[in-house]
């Protein structure tokens, strides 16, 4: 049995690596459909990155070793987090090493490393991007922690597997506190992944870009790794949201059929999520940068409110 568990741990890691570009492709596909454009293939992100991997890296003259290590570190850390969040099975052998707070810590480690690398070359856009990214981060990170807090209070645990299992046992109830923190989580997810109301991943418009400004100096395999890592981050946030709010469909082991069913359930959830996000991105417009603090401050307060509600109403 234990060998099987380790096997699934490995499978999940590999699966995450492949699902991440497909998720990006699916979101682009849906958005294109909603905007009446001809969609590109689902495999387009992966093709793009493979092309980039083949290309030569053009390195800025001033780039230090930190700049060159960052893409690998980023990819390694995010692939690791993607391997640790329960996606199909609630219990993975390594998920005990990182609870949900440590997971948030790993995500912010990745972000800080990228922000530092962005400042390394010393261009105008690099430090601008790093500053804006950290601006989003210092508001989004506490909001995320508070969301986690609300769920952890409900489940009396911060272990990811345990939280998912407790929610599964309890069955589906609509808790007011979870509703509030769910909205807060969605706001944080959009901000942290550089999606539409906060950042637009599709433009290089200098006045508004955040994430793209940070990675302007990257090219070739470095760029491919960073973009892949970014896609992984989206997948991690999605599966984290599923664990915190809607773990139904996760399997606790058992027979192979059950696991296969759970896998299909995960894919279906992923597809629905992609459609929903595409709708959201199509109907809303990007905000001015200085509206972002209000937006994220709102998320933070919603999450704090969720905890207070939990205390007021009890479980």
């Amino acid at each position: 049995m234990s060998a099987w568990v380790w096997f699934f741990q490995l499978i999940q890691g590999v699966m995450a690596l492949l699902l991440a570009p497909l998720l990006m492709g699916w979101m682009a596909y849906c958005r294109a459909r909603f905007q009446h454009r001809r969609p590109s293939s689902l495999w387009q992100p992966l093709r793009q990155w493979i092309k980039l991997f083949h290309k030569e890296v053009v390195l800025a003259e001033l780039a230090s070793p930190l700049f060159r290590v960052t893409p690998y570190a980023l990819f390694g850390i995010l692939a690791l987090t993607a391997g640790l969040v329960p996606m199909v099975l609630t219990d993975l052998p390594l998920s005990g090493a990182v609870d949900v707070i440590a997971l948030a810590g790993l995500l912010s480690l990745a972000r800080v490393i990228l922000a530092l690398a962005a400042m390394d070359v010393g261009t105008a856009f690099g430090s601008l991007g790093a500053r804006r990214e950290m601006l989003v981060a210092f508001l989004a990170e506490p909001a995320l922690l508070m969301v986690i807090f609300a769920s952890a209070s409900l489940n009396a645990s911060t272990s990811l597997s345990k939280m998912a299992a407790t929610t599964l046992d309890r069955g589906f109830y609509l808790y007011p506190s979870l509703a509030f923190s769910g909205v807060a989580f969605l706001l944080v997810l959009l901000a942290e992944n550089g999606r539409i109301p906060v950042d637009n991943p599709e433009t290089h418009l200098e006045l508004t870009m955040i994430h793209e400004a940070m990675i302007l100096e990257y090219s070739g395999r470095h760029l491919a790794l960073i973009e892949w890592a970014n896609a992984l981050k989206m997948l991690v946030y999605f599966s984290l949201g599923m664990v915190l709010f809607f773990p139904f469909g996760l399997s606790r082991g058992g027979s192979g059929w059950e696991i296969a069913l759970s896998f299909i359930g995960f894919i279906i959830k992923l597809l629905i999520f992609g459609v929903a996000l595409a709708i959201l991105e199509t109907v809303s417009a990007k905000q001015r940068l200085f509206r972002v603090p209000e937006y994220l401050g709102g998320a933070f307060l919603l999450a704090v409110l969720a905890i207070l509600l939990h205390d007021l109403l009890g479980t």
Partner: protein, 670 residues
Amino acid sequence: MSPALLTVSLILAGWLVLALGSLVLTADWSRRLVFPLCALLSMGLVVACLGHDHSSVDTGYWPIGLAGEVTPVRLDSLSCFFLILLGLVSAAVSLYGAGYFRDMSQTQPEALHRVTFFYPLFLASMGGVLVADGAYGFMVAWEVMALSSWFLVTLDHDVLAIRQAGFLYLLMAHLGALCLMVCFGWLAVNGDFDFSAMRQAHREAGSASVIFLLGLLGFGAKAGLLPLHVWLPEAHPAAPSPVSALMSGVMLKMALYGMLRLLFDLLGHPLWWWGVVLIVVGSLTALFGVLLAALQFDIKRLLAWSSVENLGLLFSGVGLTVLFHSAGQDTVAALALAALLYHALNHSFFKGLLFLASGSVLHATRERKMAKLGGLIRVMPWVAGVALIGTLSLAGLPPFNGFVSEWLMLQAYLLRPDFPQAWLDMTLPLGAAVLALVGALSGYAMVKFYGIVFLGQSRGLDVTMVHDAGYWERSAMLWLAAGCLLLGVLPNQVMGYLNGLTQTLLGPEGRVSVAHQGWLWLTPLSSQRASYSPLILLGLIAMGVLMTWWGVRRTFHGRYRRAPAWDCGYPAQTWRMQDSADGFGQPIKQIFEGIFGLSRVIPDPQDPAPHYHSEVHDPFWSILYKPLTHLLERSSDLLSRVMRARIALYLLYSFLTLLGLLALVTGSVP
């Protein structure tokens, strides 16, 4: 006197001997001898205290004291922990000092002599604070600590700003000491100032609360709690960097030690509302400190403000412990206490490391302003490497040490038991919210610190002349950096040590079992609740990064070519186009503008030579200190109207007083 206490006493005496011995040596020789020997003694201190058993309490007497009395001393697990902290950090700082002050033996031998005298004295006095078992001994050591560090702060006393900073430090240190003296006076039983007598006494809630508030003022002034923090960001940067490291890393912890000693040992049964006061003051201090840290543009001031933040966090942790302890929840109280002690140790390591690194930057570039620095990672790879570890630790990121204590603290906040006061259940999450916000903001401040100083292009400084740190300095910083990493990945070993300590402070229930699943997993309370394994995490990260590298290189290629930075194709690129330290802090300024005083000069659009200038003020000056000095001046003005310095007038006053007294006497006697 037990062997452990005797060893500790001898080491403190050894530091004193070194201080005195430096007087007879030449400046250069005293530097060569004093600093390495100090480091050796520090290591001896660590060894002596690590061997000390938690349950045993050693008492004894020093045959010196005021008015022919003896000074009672005591070694228990609380003082042992802080002595270990002192030893571990001061060993590194002393090693660093051996190299750092090398230049001074030619240029400023007199100043160097002052350092070699006061530095060991400073170490000895901190040790004295920790072992003293009576109010006399404690206050004498406390004052020697304040004065010896004052002499070290004002080393460059020909600079006006440093003299002013020194004066402010002296003033606040003595205001604090005054409060402590009154506090101990209140604690004394029938004129007996020994701690052993104070422990036995029974106090009513009222007088205990007065003692607590006096202690909070006294220790809070040393720790830099709001609103008594004003001296800290002035004095810490003014000192030479090794001394700053020692002050931020160790001296501030003496205030924490004093608070813990007062609350859990001398007073014994803390009341719940003390905890609320401590949490509120601590959280506000932390938030204010980190905001101001993110706005600084002097590297050492940034670090000093971050110390204000961390001490705020520590004191709010003390408040949390008091709250849980008074509610009878000793296991959770132990978790909070262990978390804060862990954080105290961590802070000593990473703040010491960063102050030492900034000392090397200062030494190599002669520049403290971030506006002039930049790009140092290319000329000082050693310093930049260790500073990166310190930066990530301070930002509270896994798998480094800052994260472990933050994680434990959050776990303690999550385990809210039912308090008798129902509103406490509701408001405690706000403390956790502040903790989360402070953690994220310190990440912002640290990215600014590292990004501006070590990364990017050099801001007008000629970096070709800049050299990396010497061997003494490197070994000292490596020591602290290794500590940051080890404390980060081996939390169970540290927690195992802290367990004994929390038990002696909180009673037999006050322990957290953290190793339910073996030494690899940090599992406070139960493995169902939460678990974290930094060692496995570190291994996985290393594996992930290496496998990525290997996979990419193997499947594709490793070719690269150097070219000028692209920067969206802008042809002209100068160092002025990067963010300045001011620019990087701009979002914070914009968002939190209401919290601090901000004076901004925005140039006119038609101005041919525009100059932008903005300055952030600490609002406590204008809210509290300025009105206070104003009041003082007004009252002395009023007094000076009466005192005209003319003998006839004074005679008149005496005459009138006499008349009044006579009238009083004749009126009362029938």
